[in-house]
Symmetry: C2
Subunit: 212 residues, 2 copies
DNA sequence: TTGACGCCAGACCGATCGGTCGGTACGGTC
DNA sequence: GACCGTACCGACCGATCGGTCTGGCGTCAA
């Protein structure tokens, strides 16, 4: 684990901002604290980003694109829904577990009323577009499984929402942070166990016969 | 639906505060807006509550106790885990669906670092105690089912976290709000469908054979 | 040497933050 | 009438908010 490049100021800001927004939400982060922790003056932030809102959406975009890259090989694979769906969820969990702040940040952003001022509407729509794109790939797998009568005929949107809630919340809540502080080896073991359980739940819900 | 009593100022504040905190989070709510929407002066808020933090924790306590009351009859019933567990989840969903703001408020509070100033530590611990108490009743049912070999031997804490994430996130995200605005009848139908799906997912995960 | 430019710090702005102040109106109790 | 506690208000406080302005420091090309 060697850092090849000294991170640029812009990268440093984005990194610190992700941690702070994940901890305290958009309104809970002051630009003074963000600047201090980035090793910069407050006004320097405005050299790299036009406003606090632009910075926030840029952080969101970075996180979402990182997840999107993780999911890309799974989507491209030729396997059927029964293998593709757990692979998709496992890739998502890996992406969330790798950057623990991402899950918290996304959880906040996903259920929030996107009430942004109009001057950064295009950025907000771009972020929302990435989210919809990601969710769309999951829904396509579920729909395909239902069409092939491999999965139960559940509501696709509800299944997606359940999956998102289960995974993102799971890795946003506190204990995963403690696991990370316990060292990378323990963390990896804990994540593997969690991943197995969550995937099992989601697959079980899609394949079990609903005769309760 | 007749309101028997004119709500007291204190009740009005709590009601408005729940909606605002659910919408914008703790840091995102200004006491001026809260006072205006409650029909009071800002300084009057401090007559009823010692600080913004005390008010926030009081709102959380109210919401949690309302849910606790909903779950009580389920817990007291004599049925086995196979019937008790879906009943528990359905009761939780009913409680969340009845007060749409509660899910958002809880979702925020549950995964947040409880970083409160020390002067309201006791209130924070009381709130946390209620949460642990509620989760404990769910974990007891799961554990009982595992002991009786009705459920798969999953991690109880992970199963709980998955359940919480799936249910609370499900009803915190936006669409349920639109359903409510569509009128009580449509909302009731939508909630019933959602409830069936979510419960099915959770039961499926506990009963299906994990041989993927 | 000069000028242009990227990057950054410090002083500063109006607005808003949570919270405190002195004071008013009112109903009950001796 | 004197005196209380409850409920409420407008004015005000220091601090902090997001954001702007001015100007300095280094680098590189001319």
């Amino acid at each position: 684990m060697v850092e090849r490049h000294e991170p640029t100021s812009r990268e440093k800001i984005l990194e610190v901002a992700e941690a702070l927004f994940a901890r305290s939400g958009f309104a809970g982060v002051g630009l003074r604290e963000l600047a201090d922790r980035s090793g910069l003056g407050k006004s320097s932030l405005f050299h790299h980003f036009r406003s606090k809102g632009h910075l926030y959406l840029e952080v969101l975009r970075t996180v979402l694109e990182r997840i999107q890259e993780r999911l890309a090989p799974v989507i491209r694979s030729q396997s059927g829904p029964a293998e593709k769906l757990p692979a998709w969820v496992e890739a998502l969990i890996d992406a969330l577990a790798e950057h623990p702040n991402s899950a918290r940040l996304l959880l906040r952003a996903l259920f929030e009323d996107d009430d942004f001022p109009e001057d950064l509407e295009p950025q907000a729509q771009e972020v929302e577009g990435i989210v919809m794109s990601i969710l769309g790939t999951y829904q396509a797998i579920v729909q395909q499984g239902i069409d092939l009568e491999i999965f139960q005929p559940v509501s696709v949107t509800d299944a997606t929402q359940t999956m998102i809630g289960a995974t993102v919340y799971h890795f946003a809540s506190g204990e995963i942070g403690e696991a990370v502080t316990g060292g990378p080896i323990f963390a990896a073991a804990a994540i593997q166990r969690r991943r197995r359980e969550v995937v099992h739940f989601l697959i079980g819900g899609l394949t079990a016969d609903p005769t309760h």
